[in-house]
Symmetry: D2
Subunit: 427 residues, 4 copies
Amino acid sequence: MRITKEQILDHNQKQSKEHNESFSFLADQLTSQNIDVEVLVNQIASFEVSIPSWALGAGGTRFGRFPIGGEPGNLEEKIEDVGLIHALNRSSGAISLHIPWDTPGDAAAINKLAEDLNITFDAVNSNTFQDQPNQEYSYKFGSLSHTDAKVRKQAIDHNIEVIKYGEALGSKALTVWLADGSVFPGQQNFRKALERTYQSLEEICNALPDDWKVLIEYKPYEPNFYSMVIPDWGTSLLLANKLGVKAKTLVDLGHHLPNTNIEQIVSILLMEGKLGGFHFNDSKYGDDDLTTGSIKPYQLFLIFNELVEGTSGKDDLEQNISWMIDASHNVKDPLEDLLQSVEAIKKSYAQALLIDRQKLSEARQSNDPVGAQECLQEAFQTDIRPLLREARIRSGAAANPIGLFRDLNVRSELINERGSDTIATGL
Amino acid sequence: MRITKEQILDHNQKQSKEHNESFSFLADQLTSQNIDVEVLVNQIASFEVSIPSWALGAGGTRFGRFPIGGEPGNLEEKIEDVGLIHALNRSSGAISLHIPWDTPGDAAAINKLAEDLNITFDAVNSNTFQDQPNQEYSYKFGSLSHTDAKVRKQAIDHNIEVIKYGEALGSKALTVWLADGSVFPGQQNFRKALERTYQSLEEICNALPDDWKVLIEYKPYEPNFYSMVIPDWGTSLLLANKLGVKAKTLVDLGHHLPNTNIEQIVSILLMEGKLGGFHFNDSKYGDDDLTTGSIKPYQLFLIFNELVEGTSGKDDLEQNISWMIDASHNVKDPLEDLLQSVEAIKKSYAQALLIDRQKLSEARQSNDPVGAQECLQEAFQTDIRPLLREARIRSGAAANPIGLFRDLNVRSELINERGSDTIATGL
Amino acid sequence: MRITKEQILDHNQKQSKEHNESFSFLADQLTSQNIDVEVLVNQIASFEVSIPSWALGAGGTRFGRFPIGGEPGNLEEKIEDVGLIHALNRSSGAISLHIPWDTPGDAAAINKLAEDLNITFDAVNSNTFQDQPNQEYSYKFGSLSHTDAKVRKQAIDHNIEVIKYGEALGSKALTVWLADGSVFPGQQNFRKALERTYQSLEEICNALPDDWKVLIEYKPYEPNFYSMVIPDWGTSLLLANKLGVKAKTLVDLGHHLPNTNIEQIVSILLMEGKLGGFHFNDSKYGDDDLTTGSIKPYQLFLIFNELVEGTSGKDDLEQNISWMIDASHNVKDPLEDLLQSVEAIKKSYAQALLIDRQKLSEARQSNDPVGAQECLQEAFQTDIRPLLREARIRSGAAANPIGLFRDLNVRSELINERGSDTIATGL
Amino acid sequence: MRITKEQILDHNQKQSKEHNESFSFLADQLTSQNIDVEVLVNQIASFEVSIPSWALGAGGTRFGRFPIGGEPGNLEEKIEDVGLIHALNRSSGAISLHIPWDTPGDAAAINKLAEDLNITFDAVNSNTFQDQPNQEYSYKFGSLSHTDAKVRKQAIDHNIEVIKYGEALGSKALTVWLADGSVFPGQQNFRKALERTYQSLEEICNALPDDWKVLIEYKPYEPNFYSMVIPDWGTSLLLANKLGVKAKTLVDLGHHLPNTNIEQIVSILLMEGKLGGFHFNDSKYGDDDLTTGSIKPYQLFLIFNELVEGTSGKDDLEQNISWMIDASHNVKDPLEDLLQSVEAIKKSYAQALLIDRQKLSEARQSNDPVGAQECLQEAFQTDIRPLLREARIRSGAAANPIGLFRDLNVRSELINERGSDTIATGL
C-alpha cells in the first residue's frame, strides 16, 4: 500500500482554514518576539528522525507478545512501512537496519525500492545478543568480550559483515549495542572483559570505511542483570576516546539508572565532541521502549535545549548526530506509535529553538534560577503544533498524520495485503 | 534419571569426618550460648521451599534465550526434575504448577509419580498474561480487569479451571499474578480497572474450596510499563481485605520499586494476618528473577528476622505461609540455580533463628541501635553451613548437593535422556 | 509592605492589549470545541492553594543555608508575606501553620491581621521531629511511636495543643507528618512501632473537633534512613481506615520511591474516599522540595487528570481536599518560588479541565492507547496561559505576578523593612 | 580521657580462652585450605582506615539534630577521640581534617598531640559548600564553577590554603568535594560550569606539592537537586585525566544513583590507574551516610573483591589508595559507630583475601557462574571474626572494642570532661 500525493492534498485541503488561522496567529506572536518564523519552519521541516527496522511489528516482553496483524514479513515490506510513515510526515526518510534480521539479499533491488520511497539507510546495527541458527559459537556468555577468542572472532567478523551490508546501501555508521555482561557477582572479571571488548572494537574500527563512524551504545542492565560491559556513558566515552575519531557514543534515552540527568550527559558528550547519535524512546521504569515524549516530555525538551545550545547551527546538528528511534510497541499500532514519536521529537526540537538564548544566558550569568525557569517554560508552554503542521504541509506531508492514517484504514489495508499472522523480525 | 540413596550415602560418607568436626565445634559454641542445637537442626530440616514448574528450563529475556539442554519436555519430566532437587536437598518436596503450561492430563498418574518422588503440589498458578492457541478472546488489554465483560468471564473461568486441576492434585492455594495494567498515561481508568478486578476476584473466591486460599501477587511494572492494576502491597491488601479470609497477599521479592524496605512490608502483612506466601528470588535492578541470596543476602536475612519474630513458632511459620521460589535461569543450570536458592533461603531462616531475641528486644526497648545491629550481625556472621549440612544428612539429603549433582553428571544424563533441543514451557 | 489595588490595575492596564488578543483567540478556539470558557475561567479563578508558613524564608540542606534577606521574623510577617503572594495572584488566600514555629501568641490579633489581608488558616501542622528548648523528653528515637509511653504522651499532648491553636484561628484540619522510624536494621520492632503509632493517633483523633479531619502523611525515608513508621500510602490508608471517617491520607509529591506512579495512588485514595489533601512540590531524586512543576510538569497534569476524573465537580474538588504547597527554597526568592508553584498547579488543573472526557472514555473503552494519549496531549499542549491570566485579572490579581513582584522591588522593600539578617523559622 | 594499655590487656585477658579456641579452629580450617594464616593476620592487622574529623559529633539532617553529649569542642578533642578509637582497634591511626572546621592554630602542638596518640593526618578537605562568617563572596551559586571569576578565585585560594595547612601536618592529599551544581533546569550552563571547574582545579593542581594527590569526589545530587557539576565517576575521571597524574577519583559509597554497580566502577578506575581513595559508609536510599556494612555488607565484600584483584599486593593496596570513612551519626554514639564501620571494612577486606582466586579465575574462564558464586560465597560465609580479633590482640587493640568502650563508660567520661552541650563542628 502506498499513500498518494492526492490523498495528502485532499486531507490537507480540509484542514487548511483552521490551520491557517492558528498558524498565522502564532506566527504573528513569534514575529513580535523577533523570531524569524520562516527560518524556524525551515529548520523544523528539514529535521528528520530515522525509523528502526526492528520496530515495525508488535513488540513484546518475556511474558508474551500480541501480534498486530499486517506486520511486514521481510525487508521490502519494512521499507514500505517506513515509506508510509514518511509519506505521512515527510520527517522519517531513513531506516536503520538490524543484521541478520534484515539482511538485504539483493542490495540493488533494495536500493531501488528505497529510492522510490525517498528512503535512505541510516546506521546499520549488528546483533550479537542472540544465537542464529547454524551459528558456530554461542553468545550466551558474551560476544566481543567473550573469554574465548574464537567467539570474539565470530562476533568481530559479524560486525565487519554488517559494515559491508551497510556500504552496499549507503549507510555511514555502525551501531554496536553490546549486551555482554554478567548475571551474577563473580561471574566476570570486569577489567578483562572490558579490555577484550576494547580489542574487539579496535578490529571493527580498523574495518570501518573512512567516512563512517561507529556508535557505541551503553546500558546499565538487561539482558544481563548484574553488570554490563558498557554500563554507562563514562565507559562508552572511555572506549570512544581510546578508539579514536571514528568512535562516538550513542545515547538511548531508556538506558539509564533511575533519576539520571540525561541532558547533562548529552551536554558533556557534545563538549567532548563524542556525541554520535540517539536512540529515542521514553520510559518510566527501565528500558521500557515507549513512545518518545509519552512519559517525560519536559525531559525531552531539556535534552533538545542542550542540543541546540551545544551545536553550532542547523547543519552541525542535523549532519553530525544520528537521529534514530528505538522503541517497542506492545499495545499500539507500530506505525501510529512511530508517528507519535517523530512528532514529539520534532516538537521538542522546535520548542528548544524558541528559547530566548540571550535572556537565558543573562539569567544564568546573574544566577537567576527563577528567570532561567521562566525562560524555558515560555518556550515549553508555547503551543507549537501549528508550526509543525505548517512545516509538514509545506513538505508535502499530512496536516494530521495519524488522522489520515486512520481515515485511510492503513492497518486494515496492510492486513488485507499481508494477512493477520505475519510476524516482523525484531524485538 | 533418579538419584539413589546409595549415591547419597556414599557422597556423605566421604565428607563425614570434615563435617563432623565443623558441626561439633559449632554445636559446642551455640550450646554455650544456650541454644538448643537439636531443636535448631530439626527446625532447619523440616523447612521446605517449593519449586516452580516454570523455572526448570533455561529462562530468557525479550532479547533472547539460550537453551541448556535436557530440559523437561512435559509435566512428568518437570516433576522428575523436582524429584532430583528434592533427593539432593530433602527441602524441596513440592512443586508449584502453572496452567496451561503444565495442565495435568491424567491426574492420577501425575499423583502417583509425585508420590513416588515424595513430591506434593503447592499453589497452582493461572496464566492470563499470554494468549493460548484457540483462545477466544485476547488478553492483550487485560484479563480480570478488561473493559469487556466477555474477556473477564474467560479469565475467571480459566482461574476456576485451574482450581479444579489443583484440587485433583491436592493443592490448597491459587496464586493470581495479574499482568493487567496500562502502557501509556490515559490508556486505562485506574479506578474502574481496579473495581473490575475486584469483582472478578470475588467470583474466583466464590469458587474456592473452603480449605483453600487465594494469593494475590503485586508488581509495580512489567509487562505493563506505565501502571499495573495491582502495583503494590497496599493495593493487594486492599483487595484481600475486601475479599475476606481466604484472600492473602503474596510477596515476590523482585516486585518492588528501587530501595523498597521489603522486610517492613512483610512485618505489616503479618501483623494484619494477610501474609499468604512468597516468591523468592533476588534482584539488583527490577524483576531480575536471580538466584535467591545472590545479590542481597542481608536483606533476605532481615526478611526472615521478621518472619521468625512475627509468627508464633515453627508450625505457624511452616504451615500458614506458602514458601515458593520464582526465578528465571538465563545462564545457570536451572537445577543448580534452584539448589543454590533453597540453600540461601534456609541459611537465612537458620540465621534468623539464631538471633538472641531477648537481647534484641532489650536493645530496641532502650533505643540502642548499636546493640541491635550487633545482635543481628552476631547471627548473620555465624557460619551456619555445618548446621544446614547436618540437617540435610539427617534427612537423607546430600552433604553437598551441588557437588554431588556435578559428580553424578546429572545434566549430561538428562541431555542423554531428553536430548539437547527440548524446551521447557515457562518463562 | 503591601501591594495596592492601584499598582495591580496599573500593571494590568499595560498588558491588556496583548492579553486580550491572546485570550480572545484561545477563547474562540475553545468555544469551537464546545468548551464553555466562562465556566472554565470561573473554575480556574476560584481554585486556591495554601502557602506553608515554614517556606517563606530561605530553605537549606544539612550542608548549609544561604539567607535571602528580608525573611519574615515572626508569624505576623509570615502572614504579611502570604498577603503579598495573594495580592499578586488571588489564588493563595490561606496559610498553613507549623507549631511551635508559628505559635500564635494573640489569636485575635492574628485573626484580625489575616482578615485584613483576606487570608484564612488551612491545616495546622504539629512538629515532633525536633526537640524544642525546655522540652521534657527528646524525640531523638521517635514521638507517637516511641517505646516510652511518657514520650508518646508528650507528643500526643503537643498535637492536641496544636488543634487548639488551630481552632482559635479557624483551621479545620491537623496535618501529622511523622518522622518516626529507624536508621538501622534491627533498631525498631516494626509492628510494635506501628501499633503504638495507631494508639497515639487514636487519642489525637478523639480530641479532634467534629468538623475537623486529620491528614496522615507518609514518606519512605528521611530523616530516618532505614525505615519510617508510615512509609507509604498503604500504611497511611491502613491507619486512616482504622481511625475512622475523620482520618485521611495526605499525599506529598516528593514522598515516594523512584518511579512511583503517583497519579494511580491519588486515584485509588479517591476511590476509597480517603484522599485528604496534598503537599505540592516537585523533585528529581528524593524529597527535593522544588518548585511545583519545575521538573515533571506532565506528571502534575496526570495527577490533576485523576483529580478531575475522581471528584464530582468543582465544589467537591475544592472543598473536600486540602490544597497546600510544601517546598524549600534554597536558591530562589521564596515568594517568587511560591508564585511559580501556584501558577504551575493551576495550569495543570486548567489543562485537566480541558480534557475531552467523552473522547477519553471512548478511547479507554475501545482499548485505543494512541487515541487516549492524543486526547491527553491535546489538553497538555494547549497554551493555557491566557486563561489563567484572564482569571487573575478578573479576580483583581496581577496579569504577571512575578513581573510585578520584580517591578515593585518587593524583596528590596522587605530587606529595607526587616533587614538582611532575619531568619524565618522553618526548614 | 585516654585508654591505657593495662585496660586493654585486662580486657583481652578475660576473653583469651574463648578467643583462642575459635581462632585456632578457624586457623586449622584455613590452613587445610592452603591459606597462610600468619600472612593473613598480618595483612588484616596492618590495614587501617582514617577517621573523618567531621563525624565525631552527632550528625543531623535538615530536619534536626540530637546532640550526644561529650562531643569534641575543638581540633584537639577531635584528635583525642580518634586516639580513643585507635587505642581500641589499632586500625584507625589517621584523621582526615576539614578546613575551616578544623583549622589548626598551632600546627606544632597539634602534631605533638597526634604523635602522642599515634595519629597521622590523612587527606585534608576543603569546604566551599558553606559560607563562613566574614567571607567576602558567597558560595550560594557555586565555588570552583561559579560564573563570577572573583568567587572562583576565593575558592581556589581557600583550597590552596587548605593544602598549606595539610603540609604543616604531613598530609599528602587534598580531597575536593564540590557541591556546585544547579537546583532547577536551565539554571546552569552545564558545559561552561564544567569548563570553569576544570580551570579552577588546574590552578589548585599547580599549587599541589609534588608528592601530593588531589582526590576528586563525585556525587549525583544533594545539596543541588537538579544537577551537580561532577555528578558521576565518568565526569570525575574526565577531569582527572585532563589534570594529569596527581589527580585521582575518590569513591564515596553513598554517592550513586539507585542500583549502581559500584564494584564495577571501582574496577574500571583501578584499570585506568585513577582510583585515589574511598569515603566509606552505607546507605539504603541516597547519601544516607550510615555505618559501613550496616545495610549492604555483600556489596562491600564485592568491592573489596575488586580491590584485592585489581591491586598488585598489600603494599600497593595500602599505600596507593586513601582509605577513609565519611559518615554521619544521627542516632548512634559516633565513636561506637566508627568502631563498627572500621570493623566492617576490615572484615570485608579479610573475606576478600580468603577468596580462592585460582578457582574463581577458572570458573570465569569456563563461564561457570554457579562455580563463581560458590567461590565468593565460600569466603563471604566464613566467620572471619576470630581472625580480626587475633589481628587486634597482636596489635595491642581490644578483643572487643565496643564491649570495652562500654565497660569503660567512655561516653560518660567524655560528658564529664566536656559537658553535655558541646557541639562538634561538622555535618
